[in-house]
Symmetry: C2
Subunit: 712 residues, 2 copies
């Protein structure tokens, strides 16, 4: 549609768009801004000896031309006022004088400022590496797209986290576990002979928000990804990703020495196994010299691991770490382990397993910890491992794909979730020991640090299955770079770039986004409830799920509703998971009068008639939250409908259709949950609260055998 | 890329394109042609009361504006010279006088001609229905895009085949069996609430080539597709497809009454089963009033069917036919049945099964027969059922997706394969009894007729996994409309519309295409060999496949190579499958001296040293064919490289990359096949023939566990 309308010479007021361009749309600026920008970019001087430099030059050229309507002159040195210089002191002689200012910026930081060059006004983006310069270019372009001025004293930026990773849960057959945006973007079959141009676009988008690593394959991994043909395929992807500053990583299957190595054991203390992994690492680095390392899910949900041989997680992680160490690779070992043979509260198990191992990991091991102790629920308190393993660098693992948050069709902006977790204070070393400070490695002075996001990217034209899910990819990247950023600020940037900088559009849409996660908590799992979704696929409400192979994969295990009340007692009278937090926090969480209401049923089993802060009983409060969540979605629909005309019709209509689905499904969550919990509370609904649309049995018989993204 | 370069105001000589627009690109015409067209379309008068009429109007408006650079004036009646009128005598009063000319054109035909209207020069597209007018509009647009003049006496066209179907082998989880173009385009999860705009584009492309039916789900079917939620989803698709003249059909699982109906049997003679199907049909037609009917694969490759209850295929087909009959729906019953419990030659089985049933099917049943008796091999003689069941309408089933022809990366134009089959003379009623005449229903005067193509369409941006596979969708549609068209003529139309009308490009590319299928036969299965591909996924050569659950799923079953020779004896001394053809043809095929060499090893086991027409021995001839196939691909690469600059870089490079893969894989087929067959022939290669690059064991150990499209 766009192509045709352009060829027709008919430029509609708002162009039809399909979302493929993400936040890198570079639409024409208002005349005054375009004029100013033209004055400041009469010459474009970019160090372009490297492929990275060429990408930087092309990005600036493309963007400035699109935003101003005219191309800057490319030059090898600034020779007139109004030049934009981009490079390093080593690659651009005119930037040599800036060398002293670049201290402390590291390999990925940059400096942007107005700076006379040879006595003439200029703008410089200076860095210690070409990648730093590329990041600086994207920063400047973000300011230009969002209409923000360059501060008078310029910008000095360096990432606060070293490894900023996307974890793709993509299988070798193209299926994406917990993927709601179509098939995998990796076309393993045609690789390495053909690399889709889309892969460059993927890398470029990631570079624009500072992501510097991609784990290509699912953590529920397959040893075949470590065979020679698949390493050649991964190498072809690495060649495209490298100039954009992105390293390739692989999920490693712990039993690979047996499955593809012909060994009879994968015991980490076996010399033959150690040799096999060293040889495998050598083989990988011959193909991918800057290979990042391995991500490992071991002894969790059926995956093999060191415990199969009576060894510890540290033994397992160190096995791989030793193999990677000569090549400077890292191991990201996941802490998401729990056993159904273990009668203990699932929420306690990772802590119990890993805290005793603190200090026993090699220097090139990071422990990758989910934001909460269960599994990416709409709301969880921060994981008690944060703050509890000072001798080990802990990576954060967020989920970007919305496994538990409505798949692709629910508008749920995850910035507030990420921010809430990162700004949680663990009190590990007293006040100010935030999760962010731990993830950054600052609190305990670790050389390594990292944040991973489980990607929401697929082959859908809009990349993420919906327009608004692009915001979750975006905010993840920005917060991985700087975990102290504000979710609303990032939402504002994203809306301006993705849709329009028109404040009449930006303000209400950012407001919608900022409340959307709380709305999902409300209509799905209010007041600390968790893990109440459909079995297996996790689609829709199913608080009645019970039985099956493991108690901790049911809903009843978590809500524990009965005639008296509801909630999981994790205080001393229950599983005592509260004791895994720092003492002052443990005391707060353990006290039903002090625990924040948003965590009440996470930590306590509470009587239905208990009075809440609002004055309502727990039962009435619960129903109130469900209804409030639905009402919020209804409001979003109204808001969005009122904004018709501000943006292109194609995206407008898709969002509108998805909001309609979200409203229907929010209502479904509310009604099914109330119908079910009412069988325990036996209480009527408060005045004004509508009864569920159907009897409980209706909701219980719904079946979704082909809901997307289910584990395989 | 395209969007950006357009926005930049930089129109490169050849625009970057990704193939999404297919053959409907409507690029600007040369000035003289554009001028002429403007003169002939000053006014555009389209009957647009129906959605179909609106689509017709919009298509013409978009196309004429793009090709001429200016929009025609829309008018409700022609009031000046140079009008283009499109509609029916009932919807456009100015076309009433044409009523007598429209006899015999049916509901889908049309008339296009220069015709004074109220004494002023005009062009008319007149039809008996809005769909006919839409087809006429696409015909005129094809002439304009390809630079062909409207004949002086105009055009009268009606389809020669009634049902022109795409069969999608798409599963409800989005996987496409034998699909090489990404996931399914049907997003079942979001349906019916959201229908991707791409579905309209799919329908529009199909309408442009006359396809009027879509079977939405895999013939290896799932009863869930007949449940209420999935019928609602199918209905949402039907609502979008309907105005483009496309009816929705479903593959029906024979055991559905048991699986979703709660019955204890699916016996076609059981009254409860009959009632269940009648009720199901009623339910479907309430949702989809123009539902087309059912496609059924029964008692084949593990699918349930009437034989499970001791009933015949006719009993099974008639069961469904009776349920659909009140609604004018049809049953397409597949003849692709064979049993591994049956020791007989697989090639004989469909004939033996179905010929005795001729005359026992209801009037609304078509028997859907694959082009050959095995399974969509690179070359097969026409299926002996054609001509052998005069009392039953036989539909043709072609495969468009290249399950056995190199998946998406091999350039293999299927027009010559389709044409070869359709123009085969069965001699059923004497000379001239072509397969085409049978499929058209003309030979035996059937009211129903049909051609189905197993679709090659997926969510890949270019629709079909490669640029050139779009040609196979295109030629299928054109030949379904008129089975007597010439494959080269269609290729020329397609190349002109898809790439450029420049003869310096069109001539060599059409030449490449026209020889490409013979090249694939040569490098895969020359001289009548068949079924020698990898087990399960069918990727690459594997003539050594033996053992496993069924002999007729191995390669050795088909090639029967031994020290003496090679080939399947289907003469009287063997399986006598030749006897299934009309006597004169049977005699020709049975005689190794008269059988065309291209079918030699299909029908005969032949000594390695037998002299061939060329003077070479069979062994040398075989090797010669393998090498010739590889050489043809090498030539295509050279040709394509020499055409660089004629088209956009994006498509040019993708085709070049795929041709490189094809050359590598053609060489692989040749080398592996020769290495294997040499173990039987024990003969050296002729002078000038290169030895295989690797020893046989190398080829035998290759493993492709994640090759796409495998059955599940």
């Amino acid at each position: 549609m766009l192509m045709l309308s352009l060829l027709l010479g008919v430029l509609p007021v708002a162009l039809a768009e399909d979302g493929y361009e993400l936040w890198l749309r570079y639409r024409p600026l208002p005349a005054a801004q375009a004029d100013a920008l033209r004055q400041q970019s009469r010459q474009l001087v970019v160090a372009d000896a490297s492929t990275t430099g060429q990408h930087t030059r092309d990005e600036l050229l493309r963007a400035l031309q699109a935003m101003t309507g005219s191309a800057p002159a490319l030059a090898s040195r600034a020779s007139q006022a109004g030049a934009l210089l981009v490079g390093t002191p080593a690659t651009l002689p005119q930037l040599r004088a800036l060398q002293p200012q670049l201290g402390g910026l590291g390999e990925e930081g940059y400096l942007i400022r107005r700076q006379p060059i040879d006595g003439r006004a200029a703008t410089v983006i200076a860095a210690n590496s070409d990648i730093g310069a590329l990041y600086g270019a994207f920063h400047l372009l973000r300011l230009l797209q969002t209409g923000q001025a360059l501060p008078a004293d310029g910008i000095r930026e360096a990432p606060r986290v070293k490894l900023r990773m996307l974890d793709h849960w993509d299988n070798l057959d193209g299926y994406v576990e917990r993927g709601y945006a179509g098939a995998s973007i990796w076309d393993w079959h045609k690789l390495p002979d053909y690399v889709d141009p889309r892969i460059s676009d993927y890398a470029r988008a990631n570079a624009s928000i500072g992501i510097n690593g991609s784990v290509l394959n699912n953590v529920n991994s397959n040893a075949v990804s470590l065979t020679a043909p698949y390493l050649a395929k991964a190498a072809a992807l690495a060649d495209v990703l490298r100039p954009w500053g992105i390293r390739v990583y692989l999920s490693a299957r712990f039993s690979a020495p047996v499955e593809i190595g012909g060994l009879s054991t994968a015991d980490p203390l076996d010399a033959g196994v150690q040799r096999w992994w060293r040889d495998k690492a050598d083989e990988i680095y011959r193909l991918i010299p800057d290979f990042g390392g391995f991500l490992v899910k071991a002894n969790s949900e059926g995956q093999p691991g060191p415990q199969d041989y009576g060894r510890s997680h540290a033994d397992g992680a160190n096995l791989l770490a030793d193999a990677l160490q000569p090549h400077a690779g890292v191991v990201m070992w996941r802490a998401f382990v729990y056993s159904h043979e273990q009668p203990d509260d699932r929420a306690r198990q990772a802590y119990d397993e890993f805290v005793p191992l603190d200090g026993r990991f090699r220097d090139n091991v990071l422990l990758q910890v989910k934001n909460g102790a269960i599994d990416f629920q709409p709301r969880e308190p921060f994981h008690p491992l944060f703050g509890a393993m000072p001798k080990t660098p802990l990576m954060m693992e967020f989920q970007i794909t919305k496994e538990y948050l409505g798949f692709a069709t629910h508008l749920v902006y995850l910035g507030p979730l990420y921010q809430e977790t990162l700004q949680s204070d663990t009190l590990a070393h007293g006040p100010g020991s935030t999760v962010a400070s731990i993830v950054e490695g600052r609190l305990d002075n670790h050389a390594l640090s990292g944040i991973a996001g489980v990607a929401n990217i697929g082959a859908d034209r809009n990349w993420t299955g919906s327009q608004f899910d692009q915001a979750n990819w975006y905010v993840f990247g920005r917060m991985a770079w700087n975990p102290r950023l504000d979710a609303a600020d990032i939402a504002r940037d994203w809306v301006r770039m993705t849709f329009t900088p028109d404040p009449a559009f930006v303000a209400p849409v950012v407001q919608m986004m900022m409340g959307s996660r709380e709305a999902a908590v409300d209509y799905m799992t209010p007041l600390g409830l968790h893990h109440l979704m459909g079995r297996g696929h996790h689609y829709g409400p199913a608080p009645w799920v019970e039985g099956g192979s493991r108690a901790d994969w049911t809903s009843v295990y978590y809500h524990r509703a009965d005639a008296d009340g509801i909630g999981f007692d994790r205080s001393a009278s229950g599983s005592n998971a509260v004791a895994q937090y720092a003492p002052p926090l443990a005391a707060e969480f353990a006290d039903p009068r002090r625990v924040p209401e948003q965590y009440l049923l996470w930590f306590h089993h509470v009587r239905w008639d208990r009075p809440m802060a609002s004055g309502r009983t727990l039962w009435d409060e619960l129903v109130h939250h469900y209804s409030r969540g639905v009402e919020y979605v209804r409001d979003m629909r109204r808001t969005w409908a009122g904004l018709d005309g501000h943006i292109d019709a194609e995206r407008q209509q898709q969002v509108a259709a998805f909001l309609a689905i979200q409203e229907k499904e929010a209502q479904w969550w509310r009604d099914a949950s109330i119908a079910y919990f009412q069988t325990f509370s036996g209480l009527p609904l408060a005045a004004g609260e509508a009864a569920p649309a159907h009897p409980l049995q209706y909701y219980q018989q719904l079946s979704f055998p082909y809901a997307p993204g289910d584990g395989k």
